[in-house]
């Protein structure tokens, strides 16, 4: 039987663990509040860009009437042979099933891509680490070629594909300090690859976050753009009612509303941007406007996905840490009970010994 000293030591250790998990919960709650605010303040821009793009697309024919070419290469739909998959996960663990769910959804998507070339663009350390363990890194080779015009040498990067699924790029620390500039760079690279026909489609896996109880892991198509302003969801996994309820109670205890903030009014106003029923004067030709709008749209979509994912990560960590704190408390209770029993047993034993010793006299 364990002695009282051992048990006391164990209780102390569980107590300090509880202290840590409780602190982590508080920190996550504070971070969640900030992340949620940021996700909400990013909405007006994203909605306005989407609505002006949709309206422009309605007014201007996608095909140039003179040449019959597409107005913008991002509208081009090709058979999906080469796919870019952007996976937005968290940077750190201790967030319950958050990262696992994202990776499970990505694995699900990848299993459907049999026989196609897939490039994975992991965002967040957890996705990067796992994808790198599973799939090879894309390799590039510098090739010197001669410029036929003047004979000067040019350096070109040639991609050597060794396997159907490869990991490209990495973005350490992007989620920690999410800025629009960095996200825009990623968007521009994706658009460059799409217009150069290096990829035929772009999908993104991320955790959508409307509020603590309204979230799900979605797989969404980013490119080609067929209907701007609407989300093309390929796959969505929602949490169970039980998980949702627990998350709601935790959020309420931390002073965070479990419901989405009412943005209905401002959303409606944003949706009117560029869609008024009047004849606009287009300062630039439509093709040029599209050229500027589309990258902004794609980066706004990416930014939105990442901002929501960050909020969801903090929410998941907050719930996981609350559960851990509760478990630690339960453990302390049962250990204390056991310890008291052991102590009592020892006392009883001693008394019996004394009494029986006295009786023997």
């Amino acid at each position: 039987m364990a002695n009282v000293l051992d048990l006391r030591r164990r209780i102390r250790s569980v107590k300090s663990t509880r202290q840590i998990t409780r602190a982590m919960k508080m920190v996550s709650a504070a971070k969640l509040r900030r992340a949620q605010e940021r996700a909400i303040s990013a909405r007006p821009y994203a909605l306005r860009i989407a609505s002006v793009l949709a309206s422009l697309k309605r007014r201007v024919e996608i095909l140039d009437p003179v040449t019959g070419n597409l107005r913008h290469p991002l509208f081009a739909v090709r058979p999906e042979k080469r796919i870019l998959l952007v996976i937005v996960s968290g940077d750190k663990g201790f967030a319950g099933a958050f990262n696992t769910n994202i990776l499970k959804a990505s694995a699900q998507f990848l299993s459907l891509c049999e026989g196609r070339e897939v490039d994975i663009e992991p965002i967040g350390r957890k996705a990067r680490d796992q994808m790198r363990r599973r799939y090879p890194q894309a390799t590039h080779e510098e090739v010197q070629t001669e410029n036929p015009a003047d004979g000067s040498s040019l350096v070109r990067h040639v991609r050597h594909r060794k396997s159907g699924i490869e990991v490209v790029g990495e973005h350490p620390g992007l989620l920690e300090k999410l800025t629009h500039g960095a996200v825009r760079e990623i968007a521009e690279e994706i658009i460059r690859r799409y217009t150069h026909e290096e990829i035929d489609a772009c999908y993104i896996v991320y955790n959508e976050f409307k509020s603590v109880i309204q979230q799900r892991v979605v797989t969404e198509r980013l490119l080609p753009l067929i209907e701007p302003g609407s989300h093309v969801i390929v796959d969505a996994v929602e949490p169970t009612a039980e998980e949702r309820e627990f998350a709601a109670t935790v959020a309420a205890a931390a002073g965070i509303s479990p419901f989405a903030e009412d943005t209905h009014e401002s959303d409606e106003e944003a949706a009117r941007f560029g869609t008024a029923d009047v004849d606009y004067i287009y300062e630039q030709p439509a093709a040029e406007l599209l050229n500027g709008l589309l990258p902004s749209y794609v980066s706004a979509m990416l930014f939105h996905a990442m901002a929501e994912s960050v909020a969801a990560e903090h929410a998941a960590r907050m719930t996981a840490m609350e559960a851990a704190t509760n478990n630690a408390s339960d453990m302390i209770d049962s250990l204390t009970l056991y310890m008291n029993r052991v102590r009592q047993a020892a006392i009883t034993k001693e008394i019996i010994e004394i009494v029986s010793g006295a009786a023997a006299l």
């Binding site: 990013a42 821009y45 306005r48 015009a149 629009h180 560029g274 008024a276 287009y282 500027g292």
Partner: protein, 134 residues
């Protein structure tokens, strides 16, 4: 004359920066500066790099770069990729950007896209410097 005021909104991808009323708004469109007064014809334009100047009871100046603007008779909505208050401009960083743009320009070779990128960077950095009064 309250009815003669324009409703101005300046929105960046990260947040809404400005939401107020004004008598006039000066904007850097891609093809030149425009000034908008109450009753302007509906207009949709691409934004260049430069200063947005709001005149009225609550005057403001913001250095913006790239984006869009929608003008309706009674409201102006500016969607900018980036907006900085003139006082918050990092002059040293802008100078470095100008230098970087020059190197990009000379390294661009035959690629039209690279020239375009260099031009944009240069324009952005120079407008920042001008806005900071350097």
């Amino acid at each position: 004359m309250d009815t003669q005021l324009l409703h101005v909104t300046l929105v960046t991808p990260e947040r809404t920066i400005l939401d107020s009323t004004a008598i006039s708004v000066e904007l850097p469109s891609r093809t030149g500066r425009i000034e908008v007064l109450y009753g302007h014809a509906p207009l949709l334009a691409e934004l260049g790099a430069g200063d947005v100047i709001v005149q009225g009871s609550d005057p403001a100046r913001w250095n913006v770069s790239w984006g869009f603007v929608e003008v309706l008779p009674d409201r102006v909505t500016i969607l900018a990729n980036d907006a900085v208050a003139p006082g918050a401009i990092d002059v040293a960083a802008a100078r470095l950007e100008v230098e970087r743009a020059h190197t990009m320009w000379s390294a661009a070779g035959d690629e039209a896209e690279a020239y375009e990128a260099a031009n944009r960077l240069l324009e952005e950095a120079q407008s920042r410097l001008a806005s900071a009064g350097e």
